[in-house]
Structure formats: structure tokens, C-alpha cells
């Protein structure tokens, strides 16, 4: 393999790679603003200037192809002074408003000013003033003065989102970014430009001024918006989710995620209509009750029906582990055959970038974990019909708002004699329920989801329920979490009295006389890896941060 020398280190490369690419592959970061591994090279920020032996001038590492035997220096006197000069130049018209800028703390310009700049400017003239607080679209705000004209956002729209919505206008020191008059930045991935913006020029309207980035903890987890299962970072302060950002996984979502997933999936976790504690219907309204009281009621009610009169619906929103325990409970404790889950397909809502038609994150996993009708059992459509015909009198439903799928289900479900629901939020389905168990959301539990590619990916808790402790449970912690006390304002966070489905089912099974010993989600996964072929050899460690693709050849046999 050909190689070149970078700051005395030998670096192997593939013919056709640029210096910056080859260095990035082995984990060496050459300073850059405009270069992005997934976008074309534009070479306009000039901060990646390096000295190459036998070349008369400095060259930019992002567009110079590596060649065999090349000797590259990023820290020679010439390279250092060039980088400092570029920084001084870029900062000439930059407003230096870090104290009020959302990007501060995760700003490349700020970081590089610290790392690569001597911190002095010879510029005594007036800065060029440009438009501030320009709304580029529904979700994105633009500050012209902070912009360093790297063109990453323009290239993102052209090359990834496939719509040419942004362009440079004017020139020289007046250059700025804009849409065509009368048009907006409205592609479904528009907020990705705020991630790749190396400065605070493009910010999310949803997140602006919500929090300093260093006051939040970030948890590596999965987006719940569709069956793509984009890898995300979940940012939490004061036990409240403030934003999601995409996390790099080339196999799933690369560096990107859609606006819908980013903005609308986590809001329900923070919502005021969370189910806080178990509820029982009394005189037509749901009232709070104690856990033991509800377990006792649920067991005695469930016992009073024939096996053929009960149906259990799992969920494409619940984890594999939860569906597995639920299926096991339905089969061996309740002894029923009517098991299935509702699909959440929105035909033609997907695209060929990331968004999928299947709006649930784990329909694959639910099926694989055993949520499907047994021999002679009824499937979802038939269960609903049987409820309508009053053949099925008791329904056990987890984490699904059936009425949101079809308004007609309201009439059908109200015919039930016993309706037990696990739900994180009150909705038009819980209104009809006799017993509502408070379900921990995907942000409050461990577990796995399987995306449409058959890739098993891990969820990590980012938000605490009353049963959890950020430090003792090994959850991600921010500076405030680490050093705050219970007397601080941010220490008084809201926690929900909710439990993951597997935990509630375990208690119910025990109350019904079958001993389930599950203490953690991981124990359930270990049992699954012993009993389900596709999971063989897997554990939480192996699934890791980026997930594992299940054996594809066997996958084809599984009906999804």
C-alpha cells in the first residue's frame, strides 16, 4: 500500500484519497471548516493549509491528493503561521458574540481560535455588517455576520437533500447565503445544515437559546420516528430532552436525520399529558391508583375470562425485549393464541434518502420477538373484528395509540369488557381503557430495536423515571448533573412514575403464579440470544453503539 509521512508518522492511503481523507481514516484531524467527509470538496476556507516538502507553496490538504512518499507537515513554522493568518482573516468580520451564541461550546471557529490562533487581530477598521436573524425556512435561522462562507450548507442541499435551495449571493466581503426570493429552505432534512455549520450562523429555531451545550448530557440512542432507526444523540438538561442530533453511522443514516424525527419524536417524552403512575377507571374517569392495587385488579380481571376471549397486542414501538416478555406472558401465562401488533405504515410518505413508510421503529423486532398469531390464533385485523363481534372481550395492549390509526377503532374498542393499556401518554385510546399502566418511553429504558435493514440497535436511557438514578444507573451526565446538588434549581427535575413494559409484565406474571426473574432488560436479551436463532451469539456488548446487522440470508425467511 502506498504511504506518505504526516508530521513524522507513516500513513497508508488508497490511490485517489486526499491528504485530509487519508489522515481522517486513521483518526488524525487536520483542521478544516469547509471540508466534510460526505460532501464534495470546495476548498474555500483555507484553514487546512499544510506544508508539503518539495512543493513551492503551501497546499490545502482537502483537495491535494496524497501520493507515495509525500512528506507533509501540519506543524512547521510556515504551516502554523498560515493557519494563524487564515484564522485572523476569518475572524475579521466575525462578530465574536460567543457569549450569546448557541454554537458556543461546539463551535469549530471557537475551538480553532483557541487551538490555532494567536488571539490577536490587527484589524482596526469597522466590521462589515450583514443581516442577522434571517428566517431561511420553517426550522432554520440564519445570522449573516457569523457566517464564514464555507458553503457546507449549500453543498448539503445540493448533494444530500437533492434540492438546490441555498446559494451564495453578492461577493467579496458582502457575500452571504440566501434562498431565491420568495422561496424557503424547506427540504425535509433542512436542520442538518445546523449540524454541519461550523459556526453559529445556522441555528435551529426549535433549540435556539434553550441551553448552553455544556449544560446538557448527551446519550447515544436511536430515533423513534420511522423504521430507519437513525442513530442519534439525545441531549438532556434537568431531566428534560432539549434536542436530538444525528450520530454518524454510515450503514444507517450517515451524518444525517430528517426534521420530522429530530423535532417531533421526543416532544411526547416532555409532554404534560404523560401518564404518571398507574390509573384505574372509576365512574367513567381514570384515577390514580397504587401499583399493588392495580396489579391485583389486573390479575383478578384477567383470570375471569376464557383464553379465547382474550387478545394481546404487542407494539412496534416497544423494544424487542418487551415484546419478547409480552409474547412469552401471553403464550405461557395467559395461554392465548390471539397475539399480534398493529402496523404503522404511511404509504408513499418515505423517500430514497432516509425516511421510510413504516412509521414505527421496531416492527421487525416485534415480529421476531414472537409477536405474531399462534396457530389458529387471530391476527390484528381479525382481533379487531372479533372485538366488534364481542367474541373477544378482553384486550391487553402495549404502547400503541390504536385510535390514532383509525377513528373507527374507538367504537370497536368501547365494546370491550376489559381493556388494559400500557401507555406513556394519555390519548384517545387510553380514554377507553379500564386500566392504564404508565409506560416508560424509549428515552427512559434500555432495550433494542431492529430497523428495516434487519440491523439490531441499542436504546439507552437519557431521562430518569422515579425508579432511576442518573449516576447509579450509569446514565450520561452533564456538568450540572455531576456537580449540582438537590438544592440547585436544575436538581429539582421532574421524574415520571413509569416502568418499562417488561418490568410490569414480570410483576403481573409473578402475581399470576409464574415466577419471572428478570431484573434488567439485558437479562431478557441474553435469554433471547439463547432461544431465537437470529440473535445467536449476540449480547449488549456486541450490539454496541452502532448496532449489528442480523444474518441476512435467514432474514429473508422472516415475514415482515
Amino acid at each position: 500500500m502506498p504511504h506518505f509521512i504526516l508530521d513524522g508518522k507513516e500513513i497508508q492511503f488508497i490511490q485517489g484519497q486526499t491528504i485530509i481523507e487519508a489522515a481522517a481514516k486513521v483518526g488524525i484531524d487536520i483542521p478544516h471548516f469547509c471540508w466534510h467527509p460526505s460532501l464534495t470538496v470546495s476548498g474555500n476556507c483555507r484553514v487546512c493549509l499544510v506544508e508539503i516538502e518539495k512543493m513551492p507553496k503551501l497546499a490545502i490538504a482537502c483537495s491535494t491528493l496524497a501520493s507515495d512518499g509525500m512528506v507533509v507537515n501540519t506543524n512547521s513554522v510556515k504551516a502554523l503561521s498560515a493557519r494563524n493568518a487564515v484564522m485572523e482573516f476569518l475572524l475579521i468580520n466575525h462578530p465574536l458574540d460567543c457569549p450569546i451564541c448557541d454554537e458556543a461550546g461546539e463551535c469549530k471557529l471557537q475551538d480553532y481560535a483557541f487551538d490555532h490562533s494567536v488571539g490577536e487581530s490587527r484589524f482596526v477598521e469597522n466590521k462589515v455588517h450583514k443581516e442577522k436573524r434571517v428566517s431561511l425556512g420553517t426550522h432554520v435561522m440564519f445570522d449573516g455576520e457569523r457566517c464564514i462562507s464555507c458553503s457546507r450548507c449549500i453543498r448539503f442541499c445540493d448533494e444530500i437533500a437533492g434540492v438546490n435551495e441555498l446559494t451564495f449571493i453578492n461577493r467579496g466581503d458582502k457575500v452571504t447565503i440566501d434562498t431565491f426570493p420568495g422561496k424557503e429552505l424547506s427540504n425535509p432534512y433542512s436542520l442538518c445544515v445546523t449540524d454541519i455549520c461550523p459556526v453559529g450562523a445556522l441555528t435551529s429555531k426549535d433549540f435556539r437559546f434553550k441551553s448552553r451545550v455544556w449544560d446538557m448530557s448527551s446519550t447515544k440512542t436511536i430515533c423513534s420516528g420511522c423504521s430507519r432507526g437513525c442513530n442519534v444523540e439525545m441531549w438532556v438538561r434537568n431531566n428534560e430532552i432539549l434536542r436530538l442530533t444525528p450520530r454518524y453511522n454510515e450503514e444507517v443514516n450517515s451524518y444525517w436525520m430528517c426534521d420530522e424525527g429530530r423535532l417531533n419524536t421526543f416532544k411526547s417524552v416532555n409532554a404534560d399529558i404523560r401518564v404518571n403512575g398507574p390509573h384505574i377507571k372509576r365512574d367513567g374517569t381514570l384515577v390514580k391508583a397504587g401499583w399493588d392495587e392495580v396489579f391485583a385488579l389486573a390479575t383478578s380481571e384477567l383470570k375471569s375470562y376464557n383464553k379465547s376471549e382474550i387478545a394481546v397486542l404487542g407494539s412496534a414501538f416497544a423494544t424487542c425485549e418487551e415484546n419478547f416478555v409480552l409474547a412469552k406472558f401471553a403464550k405461557s401465562v395467559l395461554g392465548i393464541k390471539n397475539i399480534d401488533f398493529a402496523k404503522h405504515e404511511k404509504p408513499n410518505s418515505g423517500d430514497d434518502i432516509l425516511i421510510r413508510d413504516d412509521k414505527s421503529p421496531n416492527s421487525f423486532g416485534a415480529e421476531l420477538a414472537g409477536i405474531h398469531p399462534l396457530k389458529d390464533g387471530l391476527n390484528f385485523q381479525n382481533i379487531m373484528r372479533a372485538i366488534d363481534e364481542k367474541k373477544i372481550k378482553a384486550l391487553y395492549l402495549v404502547e400503541d395509540d390504536l385510535v390514532s390509526l383509525d377513528e373507527d377503532y374507538k367504537k370497536i374498542l368501547s365494546k370491550l369488557e376489559l381493556f388494559i393499556v400500557h401507555s406513556s401518554n394519555f390519548n384517545s385510546t387510553t380514554e377507553l381503557a379500564d386500566i392504564v399502566f404508565p409506560a416508560a418511553t424509549y428515552a427512559e429504558k434500555n432495550g433494542t430495536w431492529i430497523n428495516f435493514q434487519g440491523r439490531i440497535q441499542k436504546l439507552l436511557p437519557a431521562v430518569m423515571t422515579v425508579e432511576m438514578d442518573r449516576s447509579l444507573d450509569g446514565m450520561a451526565m452533564s456538568r450540572l448533573d455531576k456537580f449540582g446538588t438537590e438544592f440547585d434549581r436544575w436538581g429539582k427535575s421532574k421524574k415520571m412514575n413509569a416502568r418499562p413494559i417488561w418490568k410490569i409484565i414480570t410483576s403481573l406474571a409473578n402475581a399470576l403464579g409464574t415466577k419471572y426473574k428478570y431484573q434488567t432488560s439485558e437479562e431478557i436479551f441474553d435469554e433471547m440470544s439463547k432461544t431465537i436463532d437470529l440473535f445467536k451469539g449476540l449480547d449488549y456488548q456486541r450490539v454496541g453503539e452502532l448496532g449489528v446487522k442480523l444474518n441476512v440470508t435467514t432474514l429473508a425467511k422472516v415475514k415482515v
Partner: protein, 157 residues
Amino acid sequence: MEFKFTTENIEKVNKEISKYPTKLPAVMGILYIAQEQNGWISMEVIKEISNILEVTEEEVFGVVTFYTMYHQKPMGKYHIQVCTNVSCMLRGGYEIWNSMKDKIGIGNLGVTEDQKFSLEEVECMGSCGTAPMLAINEDYYENLDKEKALQIIESLK
């Protein structure tokens, strides 16, 4: 207001496109043809050109705002461009520029109410050997001084 090229200009446009292997590079020449016909580059002009060249409006818009010789608003019948770049400045370019402003009563990129005159301070027009100079529409007036320049304007009134 919708913009369409005249039959005569469509021929010119096609000739411009035929010069290049792809359509996009023809954008500059075509914009100039459009400006000759329309007087300025309106958003409708940009839309029409983007249709002809099969590129996005944003791409054409970026080109229009980059070059100062494309007017983004209607200019006067006589568009006066005074050079104040180095050579002209050294030989009295600013004197001419200031006298033009006083004479016509408008500033940089201003247009008189009767739409007769518009004024623009420009960078080098490539006539340094005969500085100072100004241009009225396509015509150069060279080796000027304040009086000569004022006479030229007077003759246009």
C-alpha cells in the same frame, strides 16, 4: 410580469448555448442579452433563464448578485459609470465622481425620478491608459476632467 426573449434574441441565446459543452456556462452571456432587452434582471428574467438552461433559479440568482454589471433594478436611460479605481483616482476620478453626484443629484446606484439618469461608482473598466474615464451605457469617455465630464452630461439633457 412574465419575461420572454424576442425571436431575434432567442437566436442569440441559442448561439450562446452552442459555445459550451454544457448549458450552465452560457448563463452570463444570456443574462447580458436579457438585460439589453429588458433593461434589468428581474426575478422573472431569472426564472426564464433557469428554464432555458435547465438549471435552478438559485444558481442563476447567485451569478446575478455576484456581478455588478447585471442590474437588479431598473436603471436610467443613461447609466453613467464612473471609475474611481487606482489610475483614475490618481488622475482625478473622485473629482469627476463627486461632480456627477452633485450635477445629477443622486448617489451610488441611484436613479433620477424621470428615469433618465442612473449613477454607479465602478472599479477598473480597463481604460487606465486614458484615465480618468467614465462610461455611459456601452460608450467610454476618456481623458476627462471635471468640465469635460459636465459638458457630456449637459449634452445628454
